[in-house]
Symmetry: C2
Subunit: 190 residues, 2 copies
Amino acid sequence: MQLLEDRVLKDGVVREGSVLKVDSFLNHQLDIPLFVEMGREFARIFDGCEINKVLTIEASGIAIACFAAQQIGCPVVFAKKSRTKNIAGDLWHSKVESYTHGKIYDVVVSRDFLGPNDRVLIIDDFLANGAALTGLINMVQQSGATLVGAGIAIEKAFQPGGDLLRSRGVRIESLVRIKSMSPETGIEFC
Amino acid sequence: MQLLEDRVLKDGVVREGSVLKVDSFLNHQLDIPLFVEMGREFARIFDGCEINKVLTIEASGIAIACFAAQQIGCPVVFAKKSRTKNIAGDLWHSKVESYTHGKIYDVVVSRDFLGPNDRVLIIDDFLANGAALTGLINMVQQSGATLVGAGIAIEKAFQPGGDLLRSRGVRIESLVRIKSMSPETGIEFC
């Protein structure tokens, strides 16, 4: 998506350790007109897939998921990062390791809002090692819902998550795919 | 706001201990057309206030903030619940006690996205004891920004947060104000 590539080049900041800071427009301050366009693009890409639920994970996936769901015409469900050990019987749950925060989260979704009648599009802001996406896919599978695919804003294609999940048959559509990046050489897209 | 009152009556579930579960439409599964209407209502209420930034807190404030900001025509900034003790020099921060989770969070906003030139509308899903809202107001004050007011989806008016903050001069506009509720008697609005 040219609009998002342009914005990443203009306002993204590459740091050591494969860190891409996009907090001025994507995951701390949110440029709403850009989000509306991202939502339109996801709806266009997945047109005809009969999606009835958009699933994401708190916190930075929520805004993108909302504007995608608005265009698709369905609700959003966001998975919660719970640290409680009291996993009740009415939740789907999965373990997700956050590389950013160096922690393992228990991620949960109520069984009331994800089940066999759902056709699910997963939305998230980043795909790198695929930890969050794998956790969400696990919950979709537990629930018996149909996974239509995953829509990602920015994929770090030099990290293994995208290739690994595609090799397992998951349809992943990323608006921007980064081939390589470094503070010295900048960003190269696929 | 009649639409939201009706929905709370229809789909809200009152539990012991002043707990109102609205997870089927407001803070776990999100009914997007309802959010669009809430956003319109906040834009109408605060029309003419020259808001240039909507501030909220992760996670369940983000979606409401996005649709309010879309109508107002400004970006969203969401405060992050950080547990790290490494508060860098470029952050506004505040302590927020979560009654739901029984924890104290360090809440942070980058100084890059909140400063003296901003006219800020705070948006959140719930107002009860006012802990989150007080934390957000503290950061607005630290930054030198102007606080236009706070827009809340559901205020538990039988808890002290709203009255306390109004008595300090904060303009608080709640779409729904609950006077009392219990599993036995149901919900009474103000």
